[in-house]
């Protein structure tokens, strides 16, 4: 008897996800999946105009989305055929940035630029924390991609790669938050899923110790399962000598002076990308690989994307492909939306893996004390962002708000 009520309740609660909008839709729902007609991802040119959102986007940057909001604002209603996560992958200097920007522009998706450690070293007020290096002990100084290129065997290389993974992870959560709240697709440059390729290459080239690699893998296995894998991965393929040529042509000073991008390094990178990452992700995502040696046309790629039938994976609940994106109930859509928005700090907490056996990832207590005193007395670091009167924040006497979805 309870089953009757339960089924009734489930139908009532999840009607946003499954209820037919019209009689025609009701008939279509009743038909077998093969008869359903839905379109694939479509570009601007194909549609003949900009994307028209089904529902106005939720202002997730200024407004929280919690359990209470789920009663008033459902999630799946904003999703359409273009609500997809696309990751652009490829070796160094392969033209990912230009391509990803053009792709996002054509598909009307949100573009997320590649992360770098500026996100850590430049604070909310624009002050560059790298200026503090002379005051800090060596174990606490800044170490970013520039330092890595110039001195890859440094102890801090391990911390650098873990931070890169962390930033990619954080950005991927932001991307998921965007797609859940607006229904607009996202285009990312590299992803936390492919980050291990760089760690493994560094390990093979001797820049990373076995212990650091083990810590990285432990952190990765502790965190990566929380994310939803991308729908589509586009790999821009360049042979090693072409990559080296591109790096030369790009002419970034620290890349030019660097001994990191040797043939062996780039070969390892390519092998790991193709034999581990692409092989793995192809179980979940659609995969497009292009020879990008001489660049390429974004329009061609867009046409290929438009031909991919993402709908075929909806019918079989046991199909491994796109399994992360199948939520049977509306409440599950809403829970995922809360998880990647309001609960992002909880996800970032999974990086707290207590490992004390790798010396290059540890700081002594004395060093930490010096670091803390210097770091938190820098301009704009004394209080949390928005509460520093000396940096021009006003209205502090009555201010109680903290940033939306900000870690407390």
């Amino acid at each position: 008897m309870t089953a009757v009520f339960r089924v009734g309740l489930v139908r009532l609660v999840s009607r946003g996800a499954t209820a037919p909008n019209s009689l025609l839709q009701a008939q279509t729902n009743a038909l077998p999946a093969a008869f359903q007609q839905k379109c694939n991802i479509s570009g601007k040119t194909m549609r003949g105009g900009p994307r028209v959102p089904k529902e106005p986007p939720y202002p997730y940057k200024t407004k929280k989305y919690t359990v209470l909001n789920t009663f008033l604002d459902k999630t799946s209603k904003r999703f359409d055929e273009n609500s997809k996560v696309i990751c652009v992958e490829g070796p160094i200097a392969s033209g990912k940035t230009k391509f990803a920007k053009e792709l996002a522009e054509e598909l009307d998706m949100q573009y997320f630029p590649a992360v770098d450690l500026d996100l850590i070293f430049i604070n909310k007020y624009g002050y560059d924390m790298r200026q503090l290096d002379p005051e800090l002990p060596p174990s606490c100084r800044s170490y970013d991609v520039r330092n890595f290129c110039l001195d890859p065997s440094h102890d801090l290389a391990a911390q650098f790669q873990i931070r890169m993974y962390m930033l990619r992870y954080s950005q991927y959560i932001d991307a998921l938050q965007h797609i859940f709240n607006t229904g607009q697709g996202v285009v990312l440059e590299r992803s936390p899923f492919s980050d291990f390729v760089f760690m493994e290459t560094m390990f093979r080239q001797g820049y990373l110790s076995r212990g650091a690699r083990s810590v990285y893998n432990e952190i990765r296995s502790n965190t990566i399962g929380e994310l939803l894998k991308p729908h589509l991965v586009i790999y821009l393929d360049l042979p090693v000598d072409a990559v080296q040529k591109q790096i030369k042509a790009r002419n970034v000073d620290y890349e030019q002076q660097s001994k990191v991008f040797s043939e062996a390094y780039l070969r390892d990178l390519e092998a790991l990308y193709k034999q581990q990452y692409l092989k793995d992700i192809a179980n979940h995502a659609e995969l497009l690989i292009y020879d990008w040696t001489a660049g390429g046309e974004t329009e061609v790629v867009v046409e290929d994307i438009e031909r991919i039938d993402f709908n075929q994976y909806e019918s079989d609940p046991h199909n491994k492909k796109m399994i992360d994106w199948r939520f049977p109930l509306e409440s599950e859509w809403c829970e995922a939306r809360i998880k990647y928005g309001h609960e992002k700090p909880d996800l970032m907490n999974y990086f707290n893996v207590p490992r004390f056996d790798v010396p290059e990832l540890l700081r002594s207590a004395d060093d930490s004390k010096v670091w803390r005193d210097v770091w938190f007395n820098a301009p704009g670091m004394k209080f949390r962002p928005g509460y520093n009167a000396d940096m021009g924040d006003t209205g502090l006497a009555t201010k109680t708000k903290i940033g939306i979805n900000e870690a407390i």
Binding site: F383, R384, A397, T398, K399, T400
Partner: protein, 118 residues
């Protein structure tokens, strides 16, 4: 204070109005709770890495809630004690035979002298 020569249970439970409340005793509990509320607001700000006095309305609200709670629980405690005394007094009135008025004794009269046995 003059001590009665007899031990009368009823008299012990009667307010004779000869006890003067000190300055602090009626305001002590509300006062400490007000200070604790204010301190809590400061602690919360410190924990959230905000300037300790930012969001002053929070301090005022916490202090007011603290003061109110202190006053409320103070009253509650007084009521509880008064009620307890009343219950005891009533019981004694109902069972006077169990609570005879006795002469006051000193310990010296009660205790026997100690004879060490070795």
């Amino acid at each position: 204070m003059n001590v009665s020569p007899v031990n009368d249970p009823l008299e012990l439970l009667t307010n004779k109005g000869n006890r003067q409340a000190s300055f602090l005793s009626p305001i002590w509990n509300p006062l400490t709770c007000t200070v604790a509320g204010f301190g809590l607001a400061i602690f919360v700000n410190w924990g959230f890495r905000k300037p300790v006095m930012s969001g002053i309305q929070k301090h005022i609200a916490f202090a007011a809630i603290g003061g109110g709670a202190g006053y409320y629980f103070d009253q509650k405690r007084n009521e509880y004690l008064a009620k307890r005394d009343a219950v005891l007094r009533h019981y004694i009135e109902l069972h006077p035979e169990d609570f005879p008025v006795k002469d006051r004794k000193k310990y010296g009269d009660v205790l026997e002298s100690w004879v060490p046995v070795r």
